[in-house]
């Protein structure tokens, strides 16, 4: 056996949350619909005027698996499809985190928040030149909602278990009927690619939709509404996209976007190799940089623009196994769960964590300490009044003493924490072995907790084994994980806070909330779902954050900054804290020298 | 007549794994003349094989020449360059090893093993090489040279293998053949065949031969001169008729006493012979002062325990190392 440790694909828990938010669309920039030749209604983007032509090369950590938005669930496929090849009706701007017009130029909400009327942009064409109209949208939603297609988007379009209904008013107007009131439903449309009926209707009726648009699809059988379209796929090596000549955006001077002629995705399966290839000039932009590599590149001064976009939406935390295990629980597990259920125990653990050291040692300072799930990067939803208690071993000890714990001296002279039954407090923390940052955090935590006399073992597990343990078999003591909100809106974490949610990690999918504070959180989350103003929602969500801080079901640790880089020659490079961190404005990126990356 | 091979005061030692040295040959001198057969007689451990190896500088890595010269056709082999030496080995001096089953490469066809020897000394093309190989084989096999050439050693009998070794040795018509126990592992009738063959070859090729053996019977009637080796020293050297007729050294006498009537040797002669001479051959790592044969000698004198005898000439061709003759 000669397999050695590989820096395996760091699988972030990409919690893609596409949820509704009730807020009026307010735009920082003026979008002026402009009538251009032959009924085309192009969207004009502000920003630096670019230079058409050239090629941009980006590395992907894994090969995309498909070009079919219905079956794409892996991060690379989504990044390619949603980021560069497809377009949605309404788009969440990754920089402002607000909704803005896309394929739909405007939307109207009925007074009862049950009806959304969308107006389509005029003169839209798919990348193969075929015109797009309301029938394509009807087709798209029929496909998404068809149970036999197994589209993962289907669940999004069910509200309260009932599907959204779509009705065509005329060629450019559609009415979406929601089964129950829902905040700003327009956020639902982000990420829903519109499918070309003229290409997909046949496979759909034949029941072969899932297999269509595999990577080997000939370029002429593929069409989308995004800035780029398929040119060529070379298995294992790269995916080449070319400029969509029918794209519906233009720059301030009326030049049709995108600027780039070609967008190349190279498959570079190791993160270190990605850095090296960026360093050697093979790729033009890089994102998801670790702090170490960020410093490394910054130090080199090889003509890179390095960008620290600030704290992202990833929050890392430890949680204990609070599941109701019933008869399944061993006596040992029952004893441990008695500690874990004790809120003072959790608070003591939280007080012992040296968050400052985590940020310094794990993120080399490019991160933020966390006391709640909302990171400082998400200013609109951060509850600034949640207390940030300083690390205090004395206070932690006092809490533990109050909860009936005490200390004895072990044979080797170490002080050992014991529970009321005299048993030493020992437990293990699961963590994903492929994520170096989290393993490091766990090791630091282990050392922190040793000072309380807790004997903690770190158990790094391969990711899927970990998920199975946490969500299926529930055989674990504690677990260190991280979640990334796809969208800065609280609703993206709905299933984390609802006690019935599948990602309510410490005790998922409960039939009834196990505790009063969980019941209160359920109530608050549901309330904010139907609340109509930002202020109302913010107040409700602030209370959720307070409950979390009081009860510490998750002990929040730290959040890394979003670090990215680009060659100096790449114009309009602005890293965002939302995915895709760098390619979110790919239609505006351009090569200053026009040549693009192709040095060798 | 000029000597073909002249060995003077040859001393060889081995370094043991513990790092100590022990002498295997201690000042051996003799000559070999063109066309003659010199029989070298000695029991196990007397240094016979070392002598054979030393002549061609084939000592194992832990063997070392201490002093002496080996002059062959006017060239000092011990100081010759590797290239020169290689020309002599197999070209001018043919070598026959004692164990035919181990001296042949197990996975190369015999014909190829012979042609390799030829190719090492003569620039011939493939066909000529093959022809020459078959010719050489024909000299040692009355028939079937082709089949033998295509065979692997393990497919041949002991006698056949020994003939192949012979063929390798004579392949380049050498001036001297050194045969180290050529018949030791063979049954008596095959032994006779091989000895007969050796004699024939000598007559055909007019080469000299050093025939090393522990068995005096083999040398009788074949060797022109006899050299008796004991514990790395020459005990007695002289014409075969004289040495066999009137052995002078006590060791030679003891050795010849155990000679059974000719042609009735049993299969494993070594054992029966050596039991007759009392005592065991000396441990060369722990030599006392004095004559090396002294502990086993029936004629020992006082002087024998304190110093070593020198070679004394009895006649022009006959010399003995024993105090009885002056020493």
């Amino acid at each position: 056996m000669r397999t050695k440790r590989a820096s395996l694909l760091v699988t972030l828990l990409g919690l893609a949350g596409l949820c509704a938010a009730r807020e009026a669309a307010s735009y920082p920039h003026a979008f002026t619909p402009q009538q251009s030749k032959s009924e085309e209604e192009l969207l004009t983007l502000p920003g630096e005027l670019g230079r058409p032509g050239g090629r941009l090369v980006v590395s992907l950590r894994a090969e995309p698996k498909t070009l079919n938005p219905l079956t794409a669930v892996d991060a690379p496929s989504r990044e390619v499809i949603l980021g560069a090849m497809q377009a949605d009706l309404v788009h969440i701007n990754r920089a402002t985190q607000l909704t803005e017009p896309a394929l739909a130029t405007s939307w109207r909400v009925s007074a009862d928040y049950l009806q959304y009327t969308l107006t389509l942009r005029k003169g839209l064409r798919f990348s193969d030149g075929h015109p797009m109209d309301a029938d394509d949208i009807l087709f798209t939603f029929r496909v998404y909602l068809d149970e036999n297609v197994h589209a993962t988007q289907r669940d999004l379009l069910l509200i309260g278990g009932k599907p959204i209904a779509v009705r065509k008013v005329d060629a450019l107007t559609l009415v979406f009927q929601l089964p129950q009131p829902y905040g700003v439903g327009e956020r639902l449309f982000d990420g829903l690619a519109i499918l070309p009926r003229h290409l997909l209707e046949k496979p759909y009726t034949e029941g072969k939709l899932a297999e269509t648009w595999a990577l080997s699809t000939p370029a002429n059988l593929w069409a989308g509404l995004g800035p780029f379209r398929l040119k060529e796929y070379i298995p294992g090596q790269r995916l080449v996209l070319e400029r969509n000549p029918y794209y519906w955006k233009q720059d301030g001077k009326g030049t049709r976007l995108p600027y780039l002629d070609e967008l190349d995705f190279l498959f570079v399966p190791s993160s270190d190799a990605q850095v090296l290839r960026f360093q050697s000039g093979d790729t033009d932009v890089i994102s998801r940089l670790s702090a170490d590599n960020f410093f490394l590149l910054q130090r080199q001064q090889r003509g890179f623009t390095m960008a620290d976009a600030g704290p992202g939406l990833e929050y890392n935390f430890v949680f204990f196994n609070l599941n109701d295990l019933g008869e399944k629980a061993s006596s040992e597990m029952a004893r441990k769960q008695k500690w874990f259920r004790e809120v003072k125990f959790r608070q003591a653990v939280s007080l012992t964590v040296d968050r400052e050291a985590l940020v310094r040692l794990v993120y080399q300072g490019r991160g933020a300490a966390l006391w709640g799930p909302v990171t400082p990067g998400n200013r609109r939803w951060l509850n600034t009044s949640v207390p940030h208690p300083a690390r205090s071993l004395d206070q932690a000890r006092r809490l533990l003493k109050e909860a009936g714990f005490s200390w004895t001296n072990a044979s080797n002279g170490d002080s050992v924490l014991v529970d009321s039954g005299g048993k030493p407090v020992e437990f293990s923390i699961l963590t994903s072995s492929s994520n170096a940052d989290r393993t490091k955090m766990a090791t630091l935590l282990q050392d922190d907790l040793k000072q309380l006399g807790m004997h903690v073992q770190v158990a790094p597990l391969e990711f899927r084994s970990l998920i199975e343990r946490v969500t299926q078999t529930k055989e674990y003591d504690a677990c260190l994980l991280g979640l990334v909100s796809f969208d800065a809106d609280p609703n993206s974490d709905l299933n984390v806070w609802l006690s019935s949610g599948g990602t309510h990690l410490w005790n998922p999918s409960q039939a009834h909330p196990a505790t009063t504070w969980e019941a209160e959180m359920d109530h608050l989350m549901e309330q904010q779902l139907s609340a109509t103003t930002y202020e109302q929602r913010k107040k409700l969500y602030d209370r959720v954050q307070e409950i979390l801080a009081e009860n510490q079901p998750m002990i929040f640790l730290a959040s890394p900054h979003i670090l990215a880089g680009a060659k100096d020659t790449v114009g309009n490079f602005h890293a965002a804290v939302l995915e895709p961190y760098v390619l979110w404005n790919v239609e505006q990126l351009f090569q200053r020298d026009g040549a693009g990356s192709n040095s060798k | 007549m000029n000597a073909l091979l002249e060995i003077q005061d040859l001393e060889v030692a081995y370094r043991s794994t513990a790092g100590r040295e022990c002498g295997a040959l201690a000042g051996v001198s003799f000559e070999v003349y063109p066309g003659e057969i010199l029989g070298v007689l000695g029991e196990s451990g007397s240094g016979k094989s070392t002598l054979a190896a030393a002549l061609l500088r084939l000592l194992p890595p832990n063997g070392k020449f201490r002093k002496g010269t080996v002059r062959f056709e006017g060239q000092d082999l011990l100081r010759a360059r590797q290239r020169e030496l290689q020309k002599v080995r197999g070209g001018r001096i043919g070598l026959i090893f004692q164990e035919p089953s181990m001296a042949l490469h197990p996975t190369i066809r015999t014909g190829e093993q012979i042609s390799s020897v030829i190719a090492a000394h003569q620039a011939l093309d493939r066909r000529a090489l093959r022809e020459k190989t078959l010719q050489v084989l024909a000299k040692v096999f009355s028939a079937d040279a082709n089949r033998i050439a295509e065979s692997y050693p393990h497919q041949l009998s002991g006698g056949q293998r020994q003939r192949v070794l012979l063929a390798q040795a004579i392949a380049c018509s050498p001036a001297l053949i050194i045969a180290d126990e050529p018949t030791a592992s063979l049954d008596p009738s095959t032994q006779q065949d091989i000895l007969e063959l050796l004699r024939t070859l000598r007559d055909q090729l007019h080469c000299a031969m050093i025939l090393i053996t522990h068995n005096p019977a083999i040398l009788a009637g074949l060797a022109d001169r006899i050299l008796v080796l004991y514990a790395g020293k020459v005990a007695e050297i002289g014409p075969a008729s004289e040495v066999f007729g009137s052995p002078q050294h006590p060791y030679t006498r003891a050795l010849l006493k155990c000679l059974p009537p000719p042609l009735t040797e049993n299969l494993r002669p070594r054992k029966s012979k050596l039991t007759v001479i009392p005592g065991e051959s000396p441990n060369l790592q722990q030599l006392a002062n004095g004559c090396r044969f002294e502990p086993r000698c029936t004629d020992r004198m006082d002087v024998c325990t304190t110093s070593e005898p020198a070679e004394t000439s009895l006649s022009r061709h006959h010399a003995v190392s024993c105090f009885r003759y002056g020493g």
């Binding site: 397999t3 590989a6 694909l9 990409g14 893609a16 949350g17 090629r55 590395s59 090969e63 698996k65 498909t66 669930v73 892996d74 197994h150 993962t152 988007q153 289907r154 999004l156 069910l158 298995p235 294992g236 090596q237 570079v268 399966p269 190791s270 190799a273 090296l276 290839r277 360093q279 050697s280 093979d282 391969e462 990711f463 899927r464 998920i467 199975e468 969500t471 299933n495 984390v496 599948g502 990602t503 192709n598 | 190896a53 290689q86 020309k87 080995r89 197999g90 070209g91 070598l95 090893f97 001296a103 042949l104 490469h105 197990p106 996975t107 093993q113 390799s116 020897v117 090492a120 070794l165």
Partner: protein, 324 residues
């Protein structure tokens, strides 16, 4: 001929065994492909169940196995959950790239290991041998991954070699000669990493096998016949030491598809490595089983070649099997 037939039957049985065991392990390994979606709040557990049902993941193991075997017979080698395509074509393309890399590296490693190992054995215990032993010891502890990374750093610093991949971005526009040059340049580092990581082991074996035979009487005999040293070492000694080396060579051939995983990942070589590694982690089981099966075929092939070579090289084995 009968021997050949017997080997074929054995190979089929082996493949059967490997596939059954891999299937079992895949069932035992925790989690399945759709588990990652479990943490995705967009997707309900009903959808997950229906997806699992669609791919028959909810069926009992024997049925899944039967389903897979029928797919193998169709030449598809099963169906990839992630790629939504048959596994066969996924594997072929990448296996070709892997072979290009590993075959070159293996041949290079052997071409280096033989002369150097023989030289080392011939100077056993003297300084060249000692220096070499030190060097092999050093290389033995350098993990393949570190070696590959080191070479990449070298490439970045010197700019002499590309830092990974198979061809440059503008490959299509190059002239045939430049295309060849481009591929060779891209191959240089991964080949070097692979060759260097297998070299110490090969060297040790060549040296040991040669040291074993160098004291043999027939070599001294051959030396006594004036056979030149080159012939002595490279023909006589090497042939005598061939048996263990041929077995080892069989292993080298067998590892052609499976031995380059890490290097491929680090050097972003479009071979089987990245595909299989991702498939293993994502529990895309049929891709894994297909990959395992493919490398098993190579293994069997490698052993078969080794047996054939042994049969050719050692007449004693030939005689023995003829006698049977």
């Amino acid at each position: 001929m009968r021997y050949f037939l017997r080997r074929t039957i054995q190979a089929v049985l082996l493949l059967f065994g490997v596939s059954v065991l891999t299937f079992l392990f895949s069932a035992l390994a925790p989690g399945n492909y759709f588990d990652e979606m479990r943490l995705n709040p967009q997707i309900s557990s009903e959808t997950l169940a229906s997806l699992r049902a669609q791919y028959q993941l909810d069926r009992p193991l024997p049925i899944r196995y039967a389903y897979w075997v029928s797919s193998v017979l169709r030449g598809e080698l099963g169906f990839s959950f992630a790629y939504n395509t048959p596994v066969g074509p996924l594997l072929w393309v990448r296996a070709r790239n892997t072979l290009l890399l590993t075959l070159t590296a293996t041949l290079l490693a052997w071409a280096l290991a033989l002369p150097v190992g023989i030289w080392s054995a011939a100077s056993l215990g003297r300084w060249p041998d000692r220096a070499l032993s030190g060097a092999t010891a050093t290389f033995l502890i350098v993990p393949e991954l570190v070696l590959a990374l080191g070479l990449l750093i070298f490439a970045v610093r010197t700019n002499w070699f590309p830092t990974g991949g198979f061809v440059s971005t503008g490959f299509e526009t190059l002239s045939p000669a430049n295309k060849l040059r481009d591929i060779v340049l891209h191959m240089a580092l991964p080949v070097a990493a692979l060759a260097l990581s297998s070299l110490p082991i090969l060297l040790r074996h060549v040296r040991a096998a040669m040291a074993e035979v160098l004291g043999a009487p027939f070599l001294r005999a051959a030396e006594g016949h004036g056979i030149p040293r080159q012939t002595l070492l490279f023909k006589y000694a090497l042939r005598a030491a061939a048996n263990p080396l041929i077995s080892l060579f069989g292993f080298s051939l067998g590892a052609l598809l499976s031995g380059s995983l890490i290097v491929e990942v680090v050097m972003s070589w479009p071979g089987l490595g990245p595909l299989l590694l991702e498939a293993i982690l994502a529990r895309d089981v049929y891709v894994v089983i297909g990959g395992v099966l493919l490398s098993t075929i190579f293994l069997v092939g490698g052993n078969f070649v080794a047996d054939m070579l042994l049969y050719r090289a050692d007449p004693r084995i030939r005689t023995e099997s003829a006698a049977k």
